[in-house]
Subunit: 347 residues, 2 copies
């Protein structure tokens, strides 16, 4: 039969020392005689000892684990809807970049993220329970929707958490975010630099702060370049709204020669409509997107796009959560990152 796995006690006995000493050696606490240390190491080797984490967690009152939760807004999603949401979300390269960034902080610390999906109210409760049970010390949350109720829930329960993107309602939680204004400015200056004289924009929904900031940044940089009248069509971040917005813009201002779409999907829609109307991209009209998502690459032509440094942002989230969990940081803060422009064929 398979014996019980060896415990500290077993190692202590094998080494002829006390449990405390073995514990000290295992946890690299100094104040241990090098000679004894050596003996203990050998005993560990000999017994094939592996510390029991549950026991350690019980006493240090920490799991040394964090949850990575992707959160939607579904009210009461059924299994079917959740399944669809899950594959869509996990299949999105954005998620992959977040995971990569988070892990690059966690790995050197021998920590590994627990993946959670919160698409229904029950799911959100599950996340809260998970943390309250001490299965993870805190949460890194990536919301797919600005009205996600999870952040407020977490803050209310005083659970350590860090958000990707500043929450719409004021929630006292630490977050990382992009300087959307700077992103808009990047697009504006690029268009200006390639000689556009009549730039326009298909913005995101104006009730979303990020949309407003991208727009403001775009306008400001254009004004700096002497362009003050900027045709605007409000979109909804969908392909259809990109097509529609572009059509609208073209109808009102046939002389448009540059467009900044607030995300890649709308930029793709704009490209499609432009070509359909016989305008060449970028020769007649240059198009700049936002996000540098997968469609930026597959779009015809490939999109010049404003990119978020997602990996670095995610890494910072993990760092912020870590210091929060160790009680090193107190008040919630926000860390803002600069976007970069990825130049491809569309502008």
């Amino acid at each position: 039969m398979s014996r019980q796995p060896p415990t500290l006690e077993d190692v202590a006995r094998a080494a002829g020392v006390s449990r405390a000493t073995v514990s000290r050696v295992v946890n690299g606490v100094r104040n241990v005689d090098p000679a004894l240390q050596e003996i203990v190491f050998r005993a560990i080797e000999l017994t094939g000892y592996a510390p029991n984490r549950a026991a350690r967690s019980l006493v240090i009152r920490r799991a040394e684990t964090v949850a990575l939760v992707v959160s939607g807004v579904g009210g009461a999603a059924d299994d079917e809807a959740r399944e669809v949401f899950a594959t869509r979300v996990f299949t999105d390269p954005f998620f992959g970049r977040v995971v990569g960034g988070v892990m690059s902080f966690l790995r050197p610390r021998s920590m590994h993220p627990v993946l959670m999906l919160a698409e229904s109210d029950a799911d959100r409760q599950e996340v809260v329970s998970f943390l309250r049970q001490g299965r993870a010390d805190g949460a890194l949350v990536v919301s797919t929707h600005p009205d996600d109720p999870l952040p407020a829930l977490l803050a209310g329960a005083k659970l350590p958490a860090v958000l990707f993107a500043r929450p719409s309602r004021a929630v006292p939680l630490t977050y990382v975010d992009l300087d959307h204004r700077a992103g808009g400015a990047l697009a504006a200056r690029h268009l200006l630099a390639r000689g556009c004289r009549r730039p326009a924009t298909v913005s995101g929904p104006l009730d979303v702060r990020a949309s407003r900031e991208r727009l403001a940044g775009f306008r400001e940089a254009l004004a700096d370049g002497g362009v003050t009248d900027v045709p605007l069509a409000e979109g909804g971040f969908t392909l259809a709204s990109g097509i529609e917005g572009m059509a609208d813009l073209l109808a009102r201002h046939p002389d448009v020669d540059g467009v900044f779409a607030a995300n890649d999907l709308m930029a793709q829609g704009a490209c499609r409509l432009l070509r359909q109307r016989g305008r060449r991209v970028p020769d007649d009209v240059a198009v700049v997107g936002f996000d540098d998502s997968g469609v930026a690459v597959t779009c015809e032509p490939p999109l010049t796009s404003v990119r978020q440094p997602v990996e670095r942002m995610a890494e910072e989230m993990a760092r912020l959560l870590d210091s929060q969990v160790r009680g090193e940081s107190q008040a919630p803060t926000g860390v803002v990152f600069d976007p970069e422009l990825v130049v491809r064929a569309s502008a």
Copy 2:
């Protein structure tokens, strides 16, 4: 100051019963007076009790958690190489589909996977430690390379594990896999059905079992349709080898009118070369790929491809691991899934 979180003891006191009773109620054990049960529930509510998992795990000797590990073969990857590997892997839709499938089994059980990446020897040791420390009860492993040493390590340590794809060397571990033979047959029958009279194939490396099986299935089904002489070019699963293989095929058999490439990347290469040589796809030469990966959609034209039911396979992995952890299953087994053909423009 923030009080300690309530314990079973606190609830017991509030309800006027013993800890044992509260424990029974919490864990839904029968043999509890409905009246008392009600009282206990109220006390739980009142105190805001949440069970401490570390304590529970310590006593039941189980974490009720599984690790999902993506494993490569790097010898001693540095941080840089690992970073690249991480984003490439996590950004691949295949990984997203695996995560989705795994979670659909885990969620109803309030379990959540811990994500691990094993790209170096140290990483693999880390995975073994993680399990030995009882931080997870078993591992679901997805290898990116057939020579991955992790499965053997796990088997050697007698740790519960289930693999995606049968390991190349015989390792006594449970796995799920695709019926590659049936996949090849699917491609063959599709080509035959659309009227191809001179089908050929760009296979994968013939020292990889999956490659050999896809090829065998392709040939068998072709033979059943009366085609016995099948031009073959051995590729290496890369875009370049797809181009090369197709060029080779064309040189030797200018009358080829259908091609089965053993993965989408090579199929894309084949398409590219075909068009370059003035052949229309699919009119002159029909092309079928394998994997139904992202390139299948972005390829010009979009690829008809053989698809693995990845989500269902991943779900089954979780199920198999679960029964293994609960000691319900004994000897390693293999569960094989049927592929499906996704028809797009290329064939």
